[in-house]
């Protein structure tokens, strides 16, 4: 009898959807998540295209369902170390880092943060703000229980007997005695849904990222606009003023990576809505090469965003340069050199696989393609050459949320079809 | 648009009834639904007549509206379609109510042929009852003045009739008989459907005549009516805006709910405001008395009116049956028409104008009513 349980790696929207469907089918699901929170990249966005729905409101019911589902074992701060066996009979070794806060007694009141003496850059907020060594990445992140970052907590880095968080907790939820664990899980199928990382525009110095203070990446703008973000939703320059003109540059890293990341044109148009909502008078310029708006709804979205007031400019050889106290976008426009002064630049960087994708690929013994994405079987977009191991979402190929969800459901289809009879 | 110009012989009424009689002869209709004077001579009743001799006591424009025509028709076809062809001759407001009831599945229009006539209004029942014979005579004069082209509405008709701006045809009718424009010398048969053309062609009517005289006649009257309507409604507003004013205006109301029972649009088996849902446990009323200092009984009088208004205003055709029936002579129809006009405007909806146009509250459109959003 084969094991019908499943291991899902990555608790972003694809992982969450797959877990819920598999649990609904009566299977036990181990959902492995590297960070301390679920929701992946989607919960970083305030709104999603094309209906401009509130992203957190949209995924909240699924997240709640997941957290309350008895068939789903959520293992945060966890990573897959080793996979042995075959379809229907995998043995997976998982390393589970200690959170040092009890998931059941903690009520998420955040009293422990205030007193922590250590402040570091908050990765969730793309470095735009800081967090403590005991932290929840942002307001509303789930599970609503903090974790201790052992790379920065004084107890773990310097062996100091700092107890400020424990003392602040009314429920005695902080427990320094928790230990990292190594778990052995027996499952029948594995789904890789580890999502994507944003290409670092520091690799393309012509865009001035890291050089000029008001050049931002897409994720940085998302966090700026987010009502639960580091600026409380205010879009400001580093000097505290509001930008009067913004340039959004598409295709950052496209040439270097060698593929089109599918979603940037659409979210760059979404940014028009973001900017106009906070700064109705702002002047927006979108520099693009080819408009990618495939499918039945995206062209309409493009036209609606255009109406909000944006100059859409097709130009080549874009460079961000300094001019006086501000910046200019230099380009070749209609065959001639052009220079456009702007206060703020937003870059739409390529989507690439996660940094640890090569490691995970090795552990799972599945191949990656030339761009580093997990490689699917020809005409079987969720299957890998290793039977029983499936892939879905941006881990496989850059795609939007709708297609990621569809692909995760497809992976569930395959899992349930191949593991029809199971013990349980 | 073209029509058939028909010379009037004897009277408009007789001319119309003559043609209808011929239609029955030729079996173009099986039955006619038309008001007929009762044997006692003091009222008119809707009769489904197969025997054309009944047409002798029929009236195409009776002086009173005893029962709203739509109610009469709905009692026949609420439970399904008829197999026989029925021609129904009604006033424009009654036709409009028929169309609205049809959208509410209370009337099945298959095999029903709708005929309307320009309408000068109708006499209030209380006045008629004082002396029906005088009523018949005075109404003849009302029709004559109307047909002669006097744009001023006759003051002897129902107050809402004096401000009626829909006294001519609805596009949803099959055949309309225009009586304005030619001072009663000619009337115009105006078909709105091919069925109407076919049927009446069998009676020798050819719809090739120019109807601009009638159209002009209608326009003249309409201009005045619209002006009068806005004037009267402006005057009425201060009497009803604000809860205190409303309470004053309805202070005489005796909660009989007759307005609701005669209204053609009020089709519910049991009115919400008569149901258990508005009956509260005794404590509730005592609580209200305590918190407000007092409570008038029976309770929720204004709630009934406002509730009924919110349920039917979008389909209100302004026939005035409610005001006419009210034993306390409250200006129900005038008040309801005032609100009906404003709310129908909001949805760009004209009740009874088109069978295809769905009732506004049944249709959800993402992009509408921005004017009522909070900025």
């Amino acid at each position: 009898m084969k094991n019908g349980d499943a291991l899902v790696i990555g608790a972003g929207i694809a992982g969450i959807e797959a877990s819920l469907l598999l649990a609904g089918a009566g299977r036990k699901v181990y959902l492995i998540e590297k960070t301390s929170y679920i929701g992946g990249n989607v919960i970083k966005y305030e709104h999603v295209f094309p209906n401009l729905e509130c992203a957190t409101c949209m995924v909240a019911p699924k997240q709640q369902e997941l957290l309350g589902n008895e068939n789903i074992v959520l293992l945060t701060l966890s990573e897959v170390l080793d996979v042995k066996g075959s379809s229907g009979n995998f043995v997976v070794k998982v390393s589970k880092k200690a959170r040092y806060v009890d998931l059941i007694t903690c009520i998420g009141c955040s009293a422990c943060f205030e007193s922590c003496p250590v402040s570091v850059k908050n990765e969730f907020e793309e470095g735009l703000s800081e967090r403590k060594a005991i932290y929840i990445p942002c307001n509303g992140a789930l599970p609503n229980v903090p974790a201790i970052d052992t790379k920065n907590c004084l107890r773990f880095t310097k062996g100091e007997n700092c107890q400020t968080c424990k003392d602040a907790c009314m429920f005695d939820a902080v427990d320094y005695n928790q230990k990292d664990e190594e778990l052995e899980l027996k499952v029948g199928a594995i789904l890789v849904a580890t999502g994507f990382s944003q290409y670092d525009p520091g690799n393309t110095p012509q865009y001035g990222y890291g050089k000029f203070s008001d050049v931002y990446t897409a994720l940085e703008l998302e966090r700026m606009f987010a009502s639960n973000g580091p600026t409380g939703g205010k879009i400001k320059l580093k000097n505290g003023e509001h930008p009067k003109s913004v340039a959004i540059l598409h295709c950052v890293g496209r040439k270097e990576k060698g593929y089109c990341s599918t979603v940037c044109c659409m979210y760059s148009l979404k940014f028009v809505h973001y900017l106009k909502e906070k700064l109705p008078e702002v002047k927006i310029y979108e520099f693009y090469s080819d408009l990618c708006a495939p499918g039945k709804s995206y062209q309409k979205f493009y036209e609606e965003m255009k109406e909000k007031g944006v100059d859409i400019i097709r130009a080549r050889e874009l460079k961000v340069a300094e001019e006086g106290k501000g910046m200019v976008i230099k380009s070749i426009l209609n065959g001639k050199e052009d220079s456009l002064p702007v206060d703020m630049v937003i870059l739409a960087p390529a989507i690439e696989p996660r940094e640890d994708a090569p490691k995970l690929a090795k552990v799972l013994a599945i191949p990656r393609d030339e761009h580093g994405f997990f490689r699917e079987e020809p005409y079987a977009p969720v299957a890998t050459p290793r039977e029983g191991v499936f892939i879905a979402g941006c881990a496989q190929d850059p795609k939007d949320i709708q297609d990621s969800v569809a692909q995760s459901e497809a992976a569930v289809g395959r899992i349930l079809a191949t593991l029809r009879s199971w013990k349980g | 648009m073209k029509g058939a110009r028909v010379a009037v012989k004897d009277s408009i009424e007789k001319t119309v009834l003559n043609i209808l009689s011929k239609a029955i002869d030729k079996k173009l209709f099986d039955v006619i639904l038309i008001p007929i004077m009762v044997p006692a001579g003091d009222s008119y009743a809707w009769v489904l007549a197969q025997d054309k001799s009944l047409l002798d006591s029929a009236s195409s424009l009776p002086p009173i509206m005893s029962v709203q025509g739509a109610k009469a028709l709905s009692s026949v076809t609420r439970m399904g379609k008829t197999n026989k062809k029925i021609a129904a001759l009604m006033r424009p407001c009654e036709i409009r109510a028929v169309i609205e009831l049809s959208k509410l599945s209370q009337i099945e229009l298959d095999n029903i042929f709708l005929i309307s006539m320009d309408c000068p209004g109708v006499l209030p029942l209380k006045d008629w009852l004082k002396d029906p014979t005088k009523g018949i005579n005075s109404f003849r004069k009302v029709i004559q003045r109307f047909v002669d082209g006097d744009p001023e509405p006759d003051q002897s008709v129902r107050p809402v009739c004096t401000i009626c701006h829909r006294f001519y045809d609805s596009s949803a009718v099959d055949l309309h008989i225009g009586i304005l424009g030619k001072k009663g010398e000619y009337i115009f048969f105006i078909p709105h459907t091919t069925q109407a053309e076919t049927i009446f062609a069998e009676l020798g009517l050819s719809f090739k005549d120019d109807i601009s005289h009638w159209q002009n006649g209608v326009d003249e009257v309409l201009k005045q009516r619209k002006k009068k309507r806005s004037l009267v409604q402006e005057e009425l507003k201060p009497e009803v805006i604000g809860l205190d004013k409303l309470l004053d205006t309805f202070s005489n109301c005796i909660n009989c709910h007759i307005c609701q029972s005669v209204c053609p649009i009020c089709y519910c088996r049991q009115c919400y405001f008569d149901s258990d849902k508005v009956k509260q446990p005794p404590d509730d009323y005592l609580m209200r008395a305590e918190s407000k200092g007092n409570i008038s009984l029976p309770p929720d009088k204004i709630l009934f009116h406002l509730g009924r208004m919110s349920h039917m205003a979008l389909s209100c055709v302004g026939c005035g049956a409610c005001e006419d029936a009210c034993p306390m002579s409250i200006k129900v129809a005038q008040i309801f028409s005032l609100i009906a006009d404003r709310s129908q405007e909001l949805f760009n909806y004209i009740p009874g104008e088109s069978l295809e146009e769905p009732l506004p509250l049944r249709v959800f459109e993402e992009d509408e009513l921005h004017e009522v959003e909070t900025p």
Partner: protein, 555 residues
């Protein structure tokens, strides 16, 4: 039996306790009628709290339960389960939100306490009117009806079919395979279509668990999730009744008719072909002009009908590249020009496919206002210059639109179409293959223009949805808080039917009244709100229940 209502106020740690004077609330509430016991607890949703509640319900013999705590969205389900375990009907319970709606938003403690008291009193006034709604269970048929035998229908059938689940695949033409049958190769790998299609079709035909009906059409479908009955016309006069639990619409697409845009010269000039016509020519090995000669210069025109349809068909840029390769393979010296507006090559593979195709010597010209004349194309370049391109063959890439019988099917299945005519998915982001009718799914180009790999994904996604929810032997538990229509009060105006988004109301032609299908009903309340006489009412949210709650809250 005498009512004994238990009221439990959760402190939620400091969240509620610090901002609401709970003792004061207890004071007020204790004296209210039928209230048997009022207690406070530190954290009711904790394991400890839940145990405490269960014990209390049983010990005190509570007949109804009010809990004042956090948002129902958070823990209504949690506490309902506790009620069930304690033997109390879970609908005889009300969760009052004094956290998100009081403690967390009102700074002044007195005001917050007043509001919390108000809300609890309101719940206590409402709860005597709660009904012990019963859980329902219905059988469900695991079999599936798949409409459309193209790649999407085939793929979903293969995944779904099993010894415990039959699939009925209905195809209106004589063959399985859909549009792919006429493609020689598939982008971007340029493998033979046969490789993909042949064995899949063989598997379908040989499967014991898939019954294929070709030259067949679905004539009608009635029923609901788990219990559909479909009527399929299989021959001249033969009709078959099939019982299934779910339906998949995979009816694919048709091409936009280019005669609608005369400047493309379709059916006006010789040698102007649509993409599907060209695929057929290529498959038959006959890429020839009308005069029998091989073409020397070919133009592929992108975006035909894009403006008219108002969307980008997603696949044309990529298959145009495939066409360029077909042509270069057959006629190495042929001139191939692509006239396009925006080059759309999303994803990890297509950019490389484009660059390599371009390197074969294929021209890419950004062009507007294209006019096809006899053997020449007039167009405007990016910088507004007029240009002419001499060609002897033109291939148009017309927009992908829903198949011609989409509207008929939509009506039959009571599913919606969007404004472009594609079947509408339940949720634009999170429900790509479900529809608002539970049990009816859509996939592939029937849902929106997409390429083969994405159609396969959607086909498999449907399988995922069905395999995870309609399980042989599993009973479906429909919503308990549904709507009901009083037969005595209903006068059949069908207003409720018109406003029901789930097709859960049907009209009984004989009784002339509207009736709720309690299994399809999702308890949204639209019908109850729109019924003027109150004949339609929503269980657990009746006019009386709401009225009592509101009146007390405002007192």
């Amino acid at each position: 039996m005498e009512e004994k209502i238990g009221v439990y106020i959760c402190e939620c740690g400091p969240n509620i306790a610090e901002n609401v004077d709970i003792d004061k609330v207890i004071n007020v509430v204790s004296s209210l009628p039928s209230v048997g016991i009022v207690e406070r607890h530190k954290l009711l949703c904790s394991e400890d709290g839940k145990k405490f509640l269960k014990q209390s319900i049983q010990e005190h013999g509570l007949t109804r339960l009010v809990i004042a705590a956090c948002s129902p969205k958070q823990h209504e389900a949690t506490f309902m389960k506790v009620c069930e375990e304690a033997g109390l009907n879970p609908h005889l319970f009300q969760l009052v939100n004094i956290r998100e709606q009081c403690a967390w938003i009102i700074e002044d403690k007195e005001r917050a306490t007043d509001r919390a008291t108000r809300y609890v009193r309101a719940a206590l006034r409402r709860i005597p009117y709660h009904q012990p709604l019963e859980k329902r269970e219905i059988d469900c048929n695991p079999d599936v009806l798949v409409i459309g035998g193209g790649i999407t229908g085939i793929e979903t059938s293969l995944l779904l079919a099993g010894p415990d689940r039959k699939v009925y695949l209905v195809e209106k033409t004589s063959f399985l395979g859909g549009k792919l049958r006429e493609f020689e190769k598939l982008a971007p790998g340029m493998e033979s279509t046969d490789k993909l299609l042949k064995h899949k079709i063989k598997n379908v035909e040989e499967s014991e668990n898939i019954k294929v009906f070709t030259n067949a059409e679905v004539k009608g479908v009635i029923g609901f999730l788990g219990n559909f009955i479909a009527v399929v016309k299989t021959g001249e006069n033969e009709e078959l009744e099939i019982k299934v639990g779910s339906v998949v619409v995979a009816t694919g697409f048709d091409l936009f008719d280019p005669t609608k845009i005369p400047r493309y010269g379709y059916s006006k000039f010789d040698d102007v072909y649509t993409s599907l016509e060209f695929e057929k020519m290529n498959l038959n090995g006959k890429i020839l002009l009308k005069n029998g000669q091989p073409p020397k210069s070919i133009a592929i025109i992108h975006c035909v009908g894009r403006e008219e349809r108002g969307y980008c068909s997603a696949v044309c840029c990529s298959y145009s590249l495939k066409f360029a390769r077909y042509l270069k393979a057959r006629f190495p010296d042929v001139k191939v020009s692509n006239l396009y507006t925006e080059l759309s090559v999303p994803g990890k593979v297509y950019q490389k496919f484009y660059e390599e195709t371009k390197a074969m010597g294929v021209d890419f010209i950004r062009a507007r206002e294209i006019e096809i004349k006899e053997k020449v194309i007039k167009y405007l370049t990016e910088d507004e210059k007029e240009q002419n391109l001499a060609v002897d063959m033109v291939i148009l890439t017309p927009a992908i639109q829903p198949s011609s019988d989409a509207s008929k099917l939509a009506e039959m299945l009571k599913i919606s179409q969007d404004e472009k005519g594609f079947f509408a998915e339940e949720h634009e982001k999170l429900g790509p293959v479900s529809t608002s009718m539970e049990g009816i799914f859509i996939a592939g180009c029937a849902q929106g223009p997409r390429n083969i790999a994405d159609s396969i994904i959607q086909a498999e996604a449907v399988a995922g949805k069905i395999l995870s929810s309609i399980i042989p032997g599993k009973k479906l538990e429909p919503e308990a808080r549904t709507s009901e229509i009083s037969e005595a009060l209903c006068i059949g105006c069908q207003t409720c039917l018109e406003v029901c988004a789930y097709g859960a109301i049907y009209f009984d032609e004989i009784k002339r009244v509207s009736v709720v299908n309690e299994i399809l009903c999702r308890g949204c309340g639209n019908c109850a709100a729109s019924c003027p006489s109150g004949a339609a009412s929503l269980k657990h949210f009746t006019a009386t229940q709401i009225h009592q709650e509101v009146v007390e809250a405002l007192r």
